[in-house]
């Protein structure tokens, strides 16, 4: 219900914004809706667009539950795709039943390592993960650009004029389920992670540690939980999901190559998704579908009505505030802490 209010507020402010900037808001929204939900093909495409977003969103959600802000999805997604691209080329002779899992694992490992580094910095060195993950984003971006540099990039396809990676083996390609859409077989694995993440958070020891550290680090310590270890393991797991998403995107979307701008802001979409999902894996799934539709709809809207598709970013900014403002009371991460009670101040009369 709260999400509904937030979406209404977001769309309302967005409409005002479109009108003020000289476009027809009704026309823009109508086009966006038709493009994203008008036909069964569009639904399939939304599902395809949501596939990496589900994994990225789950990663951010799990980190949230431990009180961690993983805003490095862009970088983790990128290194995951790079790892799959490199390995997919090196092992191009492998059959699909071996190559596909190998590439999934390589992407998850790369993303996990990338985020795990930020986790280690947080646990051992008190480096705030917001700054470290952003720095790692730019480093990953540079790494990708280097690897496919036309002149000296070790991953660059010398037969191509543009900076793009070498092709992966045909065994590593995930079959497209509906032609001319982004929907590929990876969607099954991505969807499987929704109940898996819910199980991990609710039933597993790791999930219990994550929740306890997120809700009350002091209590966690009293129970003998090693906070530092939980922090870096959570970050690594969160990054592994993002890296898996990157690998899957490379293996599932034609032309199965790494190019500059590969992550295309999806690491940041993941933050909106996790916030809208309110910390629950099922909520994250719905939010990912919504963002997938927003992505598809806004690019269609730009082509047809000329309203820049960056409108979707403006909407996301408004949505985050609208969604988090009144609620999420039980997750302290989303809210400002209550003031620490200072007995002297209260005795002094607590004038306000």
């Amino acid at each position: 219900m709260r999400i509904l209010y937030a979406a209404l507020i977001g769309l309302g402010l967005g409409a005002l914004f479109i009108t003020v900037t000289g476009y027809n808001a009704w026309e823009a929204y109508r086009t966006m809706f038709v493009e994203a939900a008008g036909t069964p093909v569009a639904w399939a495409d939304v599902l395809g667009k949501a596939t990496p977003l589900v994994l990225l969103g789950l990663g951010v959600t799990i980190a949230f539950r431990a009180g961690l802000f993983n805003i490095g999805g862009e970088g983790q997604f990128t290194v995951g795709a790079l790892a799959a691209s490199a390995l997919g080329h090196a092992l191009s002779g492998w059959p699909a039943f071996l190559l596909i899992p190998a590439l999934f694992i390589s992407g998850a490992l790369a993303g996990g390592l990338w985020a795990g580094l930020a986790g280690w910095m947080k646990a051992k060195r008190n480096v705030h993960e917001v700054v470290s993950t952003i720095m790692l984003n730019y480093i990953a971006l540079g790494l990708g650009t280097y690897l496919i540099n036309i002149r000296y990039g070790p991953l660059h396809d010398s037969s191509a004029m543009n900076p793009q990676s070498l092709p992966i083996g045909s065994g590593g390609i995930l079959p497209t389920l509906v032609s001319r859409t982004d929907l590929h077989a990876g969607v099954f694995l991505a969807m499987l992670f929704v109940p898996v993440a819910a199980w991990i958070l609710r039933k597993s020891v790791f999930g219990y540690e994550i929740r306890l550290v997120g809700l009350n680090p002091i209590a966690a310590k009293t129970y003998g939980i090693n906070e530092g270890s939980v922090i870096w393991r959570t970050m690594a797991f969160s990054g592994a999901l993002a890296g898996l998403a990157g690998a899957m995107e490379l293996m599932g979307i034609y032309p199965y190559l790494f190019k500059n701008g590969f992550s295309a802001g999806r690491g940041f979409d993941a933050i909106t998704i996790a916030l809208m999902g309110g910390g629950s894996p099922l909520g994250t799934l719905f939010a990912a579908l919504f963002l997938g539709a927003l992505r598809l709809g806004s690019s269609g809207m730009e082509t047809i009505t000329g309203v820049p598709n960056e409108l979707s970013l403006v909407l996301q900014g408004i949505l985050i505030i609208a969604v988090t403002a009144p609620a999420l009371a039980n997750l302290k991460l989303f809210r400002r802490r209550a003031p620490e009670q200072n007995p002297n101040a209260i005795e002094a009369g607590g004038a306000s």
Binding site: L275, L311, P326, F334
Partner: protein, 306 residues
């Protein structure tokens, strides 16, 4: 390394440091008052855009004014969400950064609003040569933009404000012990609003320096993490203006070094440009890894003020 290159690197360090310095001072004001401010990135970005867009049509001074206003508005938003709507500081900061990225990219693609798309590019050189301030090395003159001198004055002003004025004391108290400040009859929320709004304007000024003074152009997401680097400088400088200033110089030096070294053929050919471009980010990470451990921020960061 020859002298000309060395002077070039020093001059570039000074230029590249000023956007960071403005943003770091903004971060100090905001965090000293108890509000975590990762929205610095978005505030810089919106300042870079409005500064250039308004500057291109109405002249650079108008552009600077517009940048200040746009940043102050984002500051007002950050203060409202965190102090009135009780959104967490980091969530609000992320939202503002996404919003600013969306707004600036959106507007820079609307021809009707930015004049012709070409008008956004090509603001006349605004670096003024001030004879008194020019350091001369071996007969070579280095001109610095007024923004750079402004940045140094900004450090002095923020330091004076924080340590020597009653208002500065209230800002620090709002961040250290809001309950005590409240007991003394001061409205904590109002103090924080002031600090975050002024900070927003300052960070936007840093962004305007980037677009108007340094690059003479606006490109999508042109701040490229500088807001976060400035935040790292605040931590590195232990929430003190002087310390953050030194940290900004260090990070800007890493930036200058990478562009300077690329020019030297013997190095530029051997090390790929992409690795050089990573230098500021790697330097920031390493600095944080070595210096974050013992630091402690203001006591009531991210705590409610009422």
């Amino acid at each position: 390394m020859n002298t000309a290159l060395l002077i070039g690197i020093i001059a570039f360090t000074l230029r590249a440091s000023s956007p960071l310095i403005y943003a770091a001072m903004a971060g100090i004001l905001s965090e000293r008052s108890g509000v975590v401010n990762i929205a610095l990135e978005g505030m810089m970005l919106i300042g870079a855009f409005t500064g250039l867009a308004v500057g291109a049509t109405h002249g650079a001074p108008a552009g600077v004014m517009a940048a200040l206003v746009s940043g102050a508005l984002l500051g007002l938003l950050h203060a409202t969400t965190t102090q009135k709507m009780r959104v967490g500081d980091i969530v609000s900061g992320v939202a503002i950064n996404i919003l600013a990225l969306g707004l600036t990219s959106y507007f820079s693609r609307i021809p009707a609003l930015s004049g012709a798309a070409g008008a956004v590019i090509g603001v006349p050189e605004w670096s003024v040569t001030l004879p008194l301030w020019i350091p001369s090395f071996g007969g070579l003159k280095v001109s610095q933009s007024p923004f750079t001198i402004g940045a140094w004055l900004c450090v002095l002003s923020v330091a004076y404000f924080l340590w020597r004025t009653p208002w500065g004391l209230r800002v620090t108290a709002a961040g250290e012990n809001p309950a005590a400040l409240k007991a003394a009859g001061v409205n904590v929320v109002r103090v924080r609003f002031g600090a975050v709004i002024v900070g927003g304007a300052l960070a936007a000024l840093g962004g305007a320096q980037l677009s108007l003074g340094l690059v003479h152009n606006f490109t999508e997401n042109m701040t490229a993490g500088r807001g976060y680097i400035a935040l790292a400088a605040v931590v590195f400088g232990r929430w003190r203006p002087g310390g953050a200033f030194a940290a900004c110089l260090f990070f800007a030096f890493a930036d200058a070094l990478q562009s300077g070294l690329q020019v030297i053929p013997s190095i530029g050919e051997r090390i790929p440009t992409e690795f050089m471009a990573m230098l500021p980010y790697v330097a920031t990470l390493i600095a944080l890894v070595f210096f974050s451990r013992q630091v402690r921020g203001p006591g009531a960061l991210n705590q409610s003020g009422d």
